[in-house]
């Protein structure tokens, strides 16, 4: 990894207290010509993952190539068991691929995560039950080799709770929050690291439909204001089309990406976006692909 030392220098020279809002590159820029302007923020080349089950080796991901442009919002969509969560885990550095390479901002994912360049959100909020929303949002900042002093971490967490519109609940315990609020704390916790990349594994999967839509709009708002690169794993076609710039459709048997669909919708999206013809077309197309992928599995 010849690039590692240079990278370390640039990240260190950035003051950690810098506001997230100020490092926002225009998300539309990356969309127009992703590869020409800058190298992809996240790349995967020939990534395969094998799991061993009772001596049997099962290939859960096979030959994945993917480029996520800087500042983009992409979704991974597919039936359950298609390996979309596994791919996200590989990108997060939680899982080492059996074959192939993954880089996040030119680094190995594990290294990028240690440098607070990756924020993670799971389906479950996984908050600490004895800590308030604010302390939970600050927690990861106070952990590990890059731990910041507690007061700095709390300031940062406060800022992030404002961003997810939860400043009023800062002193509440997780048990006093609704599912949607808990998940917003989890998002604030991820953002508090000031990561370059936000990886989300079905973050709204456990929420009711109305809360889901509200959270989706909130996430879009956060994305527009912070310019983070976001990768979202979802099984909701609506959610994928509404939020993403690119949708990667995955299929099972073997788990792979069968198509990458650019979503041709206006950069700014709101409730009216759902009524645009392009929305319906993209949705119909994705649905066809998913059904095909499903049929292929049974064949």
């Amino acid at each position: 990894m010849p690039r590692a030392p240079a990278r370390e220098k640039t990240t260190r020279s950035q003051p950690s207290s810098e506001a997230v809002l100020s490092i926002a590159p225009a998300p539309t820029l990356a969309e127009t010509a992703p590869l020409a302007v800058a190298p992809a923020h996240i790349t995967a080349r020939g990534v395969s993952v094998d799991f061993a089950h009772d001596g049997m080796v099962q290939r859960v991901l096979s030959g994945i190539d993917i480029d996520v442009p800087r500042g983009s919002f992409v979704s991974l969509i597919g039936p359950s068991g298609c390996g979309k969560s596994t791919l996200l885990k590989v990108m997060a550095g939680l899982l080492t691929p059996s074959e192939g390479d993954v880089t996040v901002a030119g680094l190995a994912p594990g290294e990028a995560a240690k440098r607070h360049m990756i924020g993670l959100v799971f389906q479950e909020a996984t908050l600490l039950p004895w800590k308030t929303a604010l302390e939970n949002a600050a927690f990861l900042l106070t952990v590990g080799g890059r731990a910041t002093p507690k007061d700095v971490a709390l300031d940062k967490a406060n800022e992030m709770l404002r961003l997810v519109k939860l400043e009023g609940a800062a002193r509440k315990l997780p048990s006093q929050l609704s599912g949607g609020m808990r998940q917003r704390v989890a998002i604030a916790r991820a953002l508090a690291l000031d990561p370059e990349v936000l990886l989300m594994d079905e973050p709204f999967g456990a929420l009711d439909a109305i809360t889901r839509e509200e959270m989706s709009r909130g996430l879009l708002d956060i994305w527009e204001r912070t310019g983070k690169t976001i990768v979202l794993v979802t099984h909701s076609i609506d959610e994928a089309v509404f939020l993403s710039r690119d949708v990667h459709v995955m299929a099972t048997g073997p788990a792979r990406i069968i198509e990458t669909l650019p979503i041709e919708l206006p950069a700014h999206r709101d409730e009216d976006t759902f009524n645009l013809p392009a929305f319906g077309e993209a949705e119909a197309h994705l649905r066809r692909l998913l059904i095909q992928g499903h049929a292929g599995e049974r064949a």
Binding site: G110, T126, P129
Partner: protein, 279 residues
Amino acid sequence: MTAIDQATLRPRAVARGALLRRVRKAASDILPPLALLLAVLAGWELAIRLLKVSSFVLPAPSAIAGALIAKQGMLLQAARVTAVEIAWGFVLSAVVGVGVALAIVRFERFGRALYPLVVLFQTVPKVALAPIFILWFGYDLAPKVVLIVVIAFFPVAIDMMHGLQSVEPGFIALMRSVGAKRGEILRRVQIPYSLPHLMAGLKVAVTLSVIGAIVGEFAGASEGLGYVIQLSSTQLDTALVFAALVAVSVLGLAFYYALEFAERLLVPWAPKYDPLHRS
């Protein structure tokens, strides 16, 4: 019902209503078991008198109460001795149990060696070790404390271990990903997570500690409630045996509720995190 109605109708009565409600709640918790206990005691008293059961076979509740009052000085002194044994034994059980759990979870390889041995040791009838402990540690406090620890550390260790391992794996992965080391994860997440489980283990341990102390005194002692029970039963003073039993129960209850109180102070968030009622 009236307390609630008043509170809702007249705002000024809210505080008084709340207090009333609380008293009613406490009363509704205590009254049914108390009534049942009194009924059982009354039935017992009646049966003894009607059937003319000899007092050294089974004394009437009134005779037991009489013994409690007549021998109160001696019983209090014996209870003090037993209480000290229970307290030491319980505290050391907690320390040993927590230590074993931490060692097993923190040092995986050592844990894999230790855990089966701990379980194996659990299958030894510990009560049978009492005479050996008398042989090794003498007649005083030490053998009782050792016996209690041997009996009572196991639930503490098992519950604590379970608690340490109950953290969502996703959260541990999250901490690892930002560079947290195992020790830090253990200290800042796993140990706090385990506290409600630990409290459950401690509650079992405290009742086992009472048993351990009495058994230890049976095996060889010159004071304590177990000694009183043994001595008075050889003298066919069955009323005193039961009086001592009452004292043992009161002691056990006191320890148990002290622990419940400590739990409310230490882990106020725990009931909300009951695995059965997680939302």
